[in-house]
């Protein structure tokens, strides 16, 4: 079993473009780390550097505490599942799974036994003598997995292995891969742009933006305590509502926030959580509310104008207007929406009656309120750090 460590890992292209300016990341033995970010954030580049398919421009890559920068993909003892699966079209399923072992001149009986074992595990026994062209998408995906696990490598690398499956199969396969990884206990790095995949599969999730690590933490931590506005808005669906507000006062009696002409008062634990706001009195900040923080338990209230109600069965999504500009963390900057209005989404109990066009007063769970610095996007927490 193995660990993977990146120390100031860099990727610069000859044209001067810095895909990865310097990444520090550690994957523990047996851990499932998901690398997530919008397209072009450098996540695949990082994965390809780990695989040895892309040259490393600077820094160190260590597998089991050994620097492997200069080793080719053949010498790193890793297995990779490609987005396209990259199955060898001229070989049967058996040939595909056995290819790596054949190259290593493994004993024929051993190969046969191992292929049979893996095929059994992945329910591929019936199709072992078919060619990839004759398989369904799900089967191809499993062959790609089989090719990886049969090797018992030090590392699994997966590059968006589910993106070519239909939605239903994706959910099912997602769970299967996660289960399989836990069972085999192989250290895994998984790249995806889909935050749902990241949240459901990873022991830890690393969020990348333009090659820079924004946060690496457990899914729960990313969701509950994002380090910055980018992570806050990237993780979660529907994404966090972030509006421009103001800190009116902060003192022993609590913190008063002004949002869309309404005052929200934080007291007790809610105020302690965001004690750092004291440094922002009189200044504008970004206030973040998850859809489910609105309309549930809560001490404060906000008024919203309902524009649209989406009934999803398990929840009711209410799209409403609030009188404050929205704030968005884009790939490059923090942008404030034009105009003085923005749409917020609240996730409500499906049994609750809400009519379009109404102005309703909803509770706000102040324990789940987030605050961000408008210029840096950094989360404001207990202290002003």
């Amino acid at each position: 079993m193995s660990t993977l460590t990146m120390k100031n890992l860099q990727k610069k292209y000859p044209n001067g473009y810095e895909a990865v300016p310097g990444l520090d990341l550690h994957v523990d033995d047996g851990e499932f780390l998901v690398l997530v970010g919008p397209s072009g954030c450098g996540k695949s580049t990082v994965l390809r550097m780990v695989a040895g398919l892309e040259d490393i421009s600077g820094g160190d890559l260590l597998i089991d505490d050994v620097v492997v920068n200069d080793r080719g993909p053949q010498q790193r003892d890793i297995a990779m599942v490609f987005q396209s699966y990259a199955l060898y079209p001229n070989m049967t399923v058996e040939g595909n799974i056995a290819f790596a072992m054949k190259l290593r001149k493994t004993d024929k009986d051993v190969i046969k036994a191992k292929v049979a074992e893996v095929a059994e595990l992945l329910e591929l026994t019936a199709v072992l003598d078919r060619k990839p062209g004759q398989l369904s998408g799900g089967q191809r995906q499993r062959v790609a997995m089989g090719r990886a696990i049969v090797r018992e490598p030090k590392l699994f690398l997966m590059d968006e292995p589910l993106s070519n499956l239909d939605a239903k199969l994706r959910v099912q396969t997602r769970a299967e891969i996660a289960k399989l990884q836990r069972r085999l206990g192989v250290t895994t790095m998984y790249v995806t742009h889909d935050q749902v995949e990241a949240m459901t599969m990873g022991d830890r999730v690393a969020v990348l933006r333009r090659g820079i690590l924004m946060q690496c933490a457990s899914p729960a931590q990313l969701y509950e305590a994002p380090d910055n506005l980018f992570v806050a808005q990237f993780i979660g669906s529907p994404s966090m509502n972030v509006l421009r507000g103001k800190v009116s006062s902060a003192g022993d009696e609590g913190i008063a926030l002004e949002l869309a002409g309404q005052t929200i008062t934080l007291t007790g634990a809610s105020a302690q959580r965001l004690a750092g706001l004291a440094a922002y009195v009189g200044q504008e900040i970004a206030i973040g509310m998850r859809p489910e923080a609105i309309g549930g338990d809560g001490t404060a209230t906000i008024d919203i104008d309902v524009d649209l109600v989406e009934m999803l069965g398990s929840e009711k999504l209410v799209h409403a207007t609030m009188g404050a500009p929205s704030v968005r963390s884009t790939d490059t900057a923090i942008e404030t929406g034009s105009g003085n209005e923005s749409t917020v989404v609240a996730s409500l109990d499906p049994r609750r009656e809400i009519r379009v066009g109404e102005r309703v007063t909803l509770t706000l769970d102040t324990l789940r309120l987030h605050a961000f610095d408008l210029s840096t996007g950094a989360a404001i927490g207990r202290s002003t750090s």
Partner: protein, 329 residues
């Protein structure tokens, strides 16, 4: 000049008449009621093809009949065929053609694969490929004349000049008149002259092979090679075990195209082998030599039939390969 223009004008008028007749027929067909309309339209388009095909089939059948006649156009049965397979000169022709098919096809394809592989993603690749492809554009007669200069025993003969640079006394070699190979002269062994003529065709066909195979190589997904490397394959193993099988269809297409061209090899034998002298003759050359200069139409026709029999299975393989490629592996 005037001649050229009047010829051009004739060509244009001819094409215009052809298009006009077809267009008129098509228009007429379109006026018919269904279900006749669609059938008539189909006939309009297929018709000229069928007429052309008849123009091929009828002479072919006549030729087949001819192959059973002797020099004096008397019935000769299978005599011509017997002569081909028993006469020493004719066996030499058969063996030569076989060697042509094997050596030129094999070497051209291998050179094509090798150059395509190593030139791929090299700097200046397009320029290099253009240079390699250039000979393909040269007519065989032109190529024959160029290479005659190379092999010539005269002062300007390039190969002889190069040999003269070697130390010691070098006698002038008559390369294209040397029917021996390493001192062996046999009906079943191609002579040095044949080998040297083959070089010219390899020079021509390798360019074609390189360009086609190079295009196929660019169609191999990068993922596939990367997956092989991660599976532990060296560059070499990845190429032979993954890339080559992936472009197998293209390689078969190239090989069958070259083999068909080579089996019909004729003009180069005429220009470089002096019409098949010194044991350089091939089937297509013999077909012409017997039918026309030797005035033995029956034997010439028999060679033509054999040539057809030799090419037909290759065309079949090619067609099946094309279908397999279309249907995806």
């Amino acid at each position: 000049m005037g001649d050229i223009f009047s010829s051009l004008a004739l060509v244009v008028v001819g094409i215009a008449i052809f298009v006009a007749v077809l267009g008129a027929l098509y228009w007429l067909a379109s006026q018919l009621p269904e279900p006749w309309r669609e059938r008539a339209r189909t006939a309009v388009f297929i018709g000229p093809g069928i007429i052309l095909l008849l123009g091929l089939v009828i002479p072919a059948l006549l030729n087949f009949r001819f192959s059973f006649l002797d020099r004096d156009e008397e019935w000769y049965g299978f005599g011509n065929y017997r002569d081909i397979f028993t006469n020493d000169n004719n066996i030499k022709v058969l063996a030569n053609t076989l060697w042509w098919g094997i050596l030129v096809t094999g070497v051209s394809t291998v050179i094509g694969i090798t150059i395509a592989r190593f030139a791929d993603r090299m700097r200046g690749e397009p320029f290099a490929k253009a240079l390699i492809f250039l000979p393909t554009a040269i007519s065989m007669v032109g190529a024959g004349i160029i290479w005659n200069f190379v092999y010539s025993p005269k002062e300007y003969g390039l190969l002889n000049s190069m040999l003269r640079l070697l130390p010691g006394e070098q006698e002038t070699k008559f390369f294209l008149q040397d029917p021996k190979l390493f001192g062996i002269q046999s009906n079943y062994v191609p002579g040095l002259n044949t080998i040297l003529i083959m070089v010219v065709i390899i020079w021509i066909q390798a360019g074609f092979a390189t360009v086609v195979i190079s295009a196929a190589l660019k169609g191999v997904p990068d993922d596939l090679v990367e997956a092989a490397k991660i599976d532990g394959a060296t560059d070499r193993q990845a190429f032979y075990k993954v890339v080559l099988p992936y472009i197998k269809g293209t390689i078969i297409t190239v090989a069958t195209t070259v083999v068909i061209a080579v089996l019909k090899i004729f003009d180069i034998i005429q220009t470089m082998g002096k019409g098949g002298s010194f044991g350089t003759s091939t089937m297509a050359n013999e077909m012409y030599e017997q039918a026309f200069p030797q005035d033995n139409e029956g034997l010439g026709a028999a060679w033509a039939v054999l040539l057809f029999v030799a090419v037909a299975p290759i065309v079949f393989v090619n067609a099946r390969n094309q279908r397999a490629m279309r249907e995806g592996r």
